[in-house]
Symmetry: D2
Subunit: 357 residues, 4 copies
């Protein structure tokens, strides 16, 4: 665990009792330039971290406290893993309390750039519209420069991360059309969080596959927003089919994008565009020759595996992306952004290889 050192960035994880919180701790505890100085979790306040996270019991972590018990003036960076709604209030408050503070938000509150869209999808008005305007969308590979200078980074949702990594370079080059994008998505159960819900019980989710939130998932407007932005279009002009399915595994996310090619484009052009876009990236790779991306091959890592396939339907192609929803789709990308914001080598604490089997 991190030794105390004046040179280290003092980090707090707010909302540390959820799965994203735990994975943020897992990564930060081995970060050579970070020191975890506070962990908050209102419902678990007063407990040792080892009681809430027995797998991290070997670390010498601070105990869980309530948000208000933390003196954020002594903190340099905050990772926020709160539910939406709660996140914006807490972030607003602690950024006012400490103007130097930098916030890496893993929640959903600052992903939608437009307050009205936020209200429409999250069913409440946004309490911090000025921060919304300031927040940088934290898709590391595509907003690297903005992230470096940001005070507040809104890490993308897990599905948008996989989807946008697969599609943004294609949209930017005009290789696919925007009005017929079908994103058939599959996620492990950890994506639903650690809250007690019937459908995430072992006996309900196990040995079964189920679609959910078809046509109603909040990651849909987020995907549309970013695709539209990349295409230089208005968000309302882009409408995607986003169809998520719950898969009986804990970690992992795979999106199968059924795309319509722009006139003249071929599947091979898509692959080339992706390879060029990501040639210098540390975390984006392509499935080995003849193989396809699979979530078990990224488990526990910050990797994203991509592949492009021809479609039997003329004028279409299939683009596939696999990530670990808790790492590249959440806390790993958050640490990647943290590295960018504080000037560390981007892969610091993220070189852990996939755990297979």
């Amino acid at each position: 665990m991190p030794e105390s050192s004046s040179a280290k960035v003092r980090v707090s994880v707010v909302g540390a009792s959820g799965y994203t919180g735990a994975d943020a701790i897992r990564l930060l505890a081995r970060h050579p330039h970070a020191e975890i100085v506070a962990l908050t979790a209102n419902t678990h306040a007063g407990k040792p971290a080892a009681q809430v996270w027995p797998h991290l019991a070997g670390l010498d972590l601070p105990g869980l406290v309530k948000n208000e018990e933390v003196d954020f003036s002594g903190v340099d960076a905050v990772f926020v893993g709160l539910p939406h709604g709660a996140a914006q209030d807490v972030i607003s408050e602690i950024m006012q309390a400490n103007a130097e503070l930098r916030v890496i938000d893993i929640s959903a509150d600052f992903r939608l750039r437009d307050a009205a869209t936020y209200e429409q999808w999250y069913g409440r008005s946004h309490d911090a519209p000025e921060l919304l305007a300031e927040a940088v969308y934290g898709l590391s590979e595509h907003y690297r420069e903005e992230i470096r200078g940001a005070r507040l980074v809104a890490c993308p949702g897990c599905y948008p991360t996989a989807t946008l990594l697969a599609l943004l370079p294609l949209v930017k080059r005009g290789l696919i059309v925007l009005d017929d994008l079908i994103i058939d998505a599959k996620s492990g159960v950890s994506g639903a969080g650690r809250g007690l819900k019937l459908n995430t019980l072992f006996c309900e989710a196990g040995e079964g596959l189920s679609p959910y939130a078809v046509g109603a998932h909040r990651h849909m407007p987020e995907i549309e927003q970013e695709l539209a932005r990349a295409a230089g279009r208005d968000a309302a002009e882009v409408r995607v089919n986003f169809t998520p399915h719950l898969v009986p595994m804990s970690r992992g996310e795979l999106i199968t994008a059924h795309v319509k090619l722009a006139p003249g484009a071929q599947a091979a052009d898509l692959e080339q565009a992706l390879r060029e876009a990501y040639a210098d990236e540390s975390f984006i790779r392509f499935a080995p020759e003849g193989l396809l991306p699979a979530t078990q091959h990224v488990r526990g890592s910050n990797d994203c595996i991509l592949a492009v396939r021809e479609d039997r339907i003329a004028g279409r192609a299939i683009v596939i992306a696999a990530i670990d929803n808790l790492v590249k789709g959440s806390s790993g990308q958050a640490v990647q952004n943290f590295n960018l914001m504080f000037g560390f080598e981007e892969t610091t604490a993220l070189r852990q290889l996939p755990l297979f089997p």
Copy 2:
């Protein structure tokens, strides 16, 4: 287990050591009008059935023998669960040996009506083209009358079963277009059979989701064949995107069909067409209000659950179907066809309810 009775249909399961064979036995052993008189499995010949299938050890089953050890003149009906290629030769032989014999083929050899297409997809010429011409495609709900009179029924593949149950009524009514059909499919591991393959090991398939055989799955031409037939078109005119994924569960199959509506059609029209087509069916039902089909809700049963959803993309809709790949997608439908062929109540031995959890 079946008492001996002169009134019972004497049944043999050829290729009884695979998962489809086992599920055929499981259902037939409780069929009041069937008596299992022979089980064959060349590689396991000589073993008691209980050694190969410990879960069936409570039954008084005949031991496993080689095909040639069976006197098919004393058999009324044969369920064939052999690998493709082997099936056609064995079926051809036993049907010559006993002209009264009725064959329910669970293998792939007689599903493609065109020998040339068979050769293209299965990499070998068809040895029994005359039987191919005679075979009836065993999608029970859609070919009921032909099945009743058939000597040889070719039970559909698991994916085609789910896909065609979802789409045939729509195609017949002209509600969807045929040149832009995207079938994103998900299957449990039992669909790959009991053979020893690396990708079906627990450690390879567990805790992970992987697409496979994208653009190359043999169920694709089968789906195209039947869609074309329903539409009165040539098979070559229909090209579907069929993208299967392997899901870490043993049983279950779900297809998510992303369909383009014919001009003027609405999602609601699709649902109505399906409800009307299946109003009198025993095994086809619709997801309860507000819910979606899930494979865990059909496990072990011959049921198919359907649902239709609007798509966020104008002019599109989403049709979802869930089945148990080993039951409705294989041995259950085979028994359903057996019931039709021998004049039994269609649901006989198939009223077992889904096992959940």
Copy 3:
């Protein structure tokens, strides 16, 4: 689903929204002599059964109501799947309301014959001690005659069922000693019920094995009670080591009993005693030659598979039993008892074969 018939036993399932309730419905809905006339579940009252149990949506079940909405005078038999504590009050009340009523209790409230022991382990006094005195312990194979005449049958816990089936015949014959019984037990997650608990979330229970309630499980005194009774000893004289583990599977339970042989006894004597005790039983079988009991070979069935093995330690042996905790360990045995109580063939509605894979 059951047709209305004056000859049928009118059955109600009280506490129908738990897993045991669902499995009772699954079995009773196919029982030729039972008609489900009422389903209660206080927290889900007002909902159609299909909303709570989508896998049973194909049945024409009555909707869920509160207990007090049921007129128990029109009911012949009640299956009770309530939490302990609640069960005794409800049962007491409905048995007073209808003296003809027969109750098959799947809860824990009437398993411990001694009110003081109940209070000690369940942390509350027993409200119906007179019923406790009347209740028959529903281990079908061992209390068959008492069950036939009982008004109130207390179905054993899942662990006691497997353990007692494995050990009672050995204790009765004095083949094992009682002061050194080690029962290492393993259960699927459904044993913990459908309530929302952190440790039964997919992400908590999946891909992991954990012991729990070591030395503190309520099934321990129940096992001791019945072993003592079989041995003609006082319950306080028998103390077993009962060590349960949670296994990442939905259904299934296996107990590995490490027993010390009585002087002169051999492992082979144990097997012979079990074979003789269960020679005429429909649901108890022995693992095929060379194989061991495995939970996947009883899944969904009312079967119990037994095996005995020599121990490398002289004077010891290993006895293994596998059951489906929701069937033989709960609702299946309840239906078996129902059959005994109402004079039906004992296997009625229970001949469903194990579902494998």
Copy 4:
């Protein structure tokens, strides 16, 4: 991946296509002082590592070659992950070719110190008895000094690792008796290796628990050997009950040791003895207050979690240990031994935290 550096230890993994091989690569690829210079796998020779291990495709690994293609004179350390039998021949050969070479054997060939015992349990005579005499048993925490100086380290089996970590300190202090040790063990499926076997197929091992090799597992004599040695007894004097079970999870192993206390000893004495023995250890920890060891809390890490519980049977106690069978039970301990042998900090490349969920 490892940059070329003259200061680095040049490492080869022989038998790199099994799960232990893969996990050795995973750890070594991030070892700052190791460079992987060769990977062998006879059946996969000629393939790029990424084809055999897609999860490691992001590394710049050498391709797989046959053993005889490697020039072992340019290698400093070899990790051997071959099947037993093959390992001894290869190791013998390469140690003759390069006298400086140091071998970390993950196979079973040098674990049993006695050639006759080896022959009895492995069904073949040992070809390298002189190396057997030289080999050091690689239970890092207990043979640290011998390992530092060893040319050949025989890493313990996964079950012996967990068992001995739990019991050796107790045996050394005489707190438990040796003639009544019951080790009820549970392992994930990866323990059975990557070979194609029926019982490790997803559909066979999934959703089920099964005991196996009861009274016949080769880890039994290994455990007895080390317990006897610690007690200063002859191996033939110690006979344990070792009862393994296959659990539907990929990684993880838990042993539940039911021990008889030496006269005067208490469960609390056992815990104290373990705490004292491991007070300075990096990888051994105790379950947090009130919790029990669980395999999901060590997944992917080199940790071992211990706990002691009182037994309801007087004079007995329960000792529980959880490890990841592929890490502490195999490749992790191998790297730990490598660190000892080459004078690196013992935790180098092993500080990766458990991956949960």
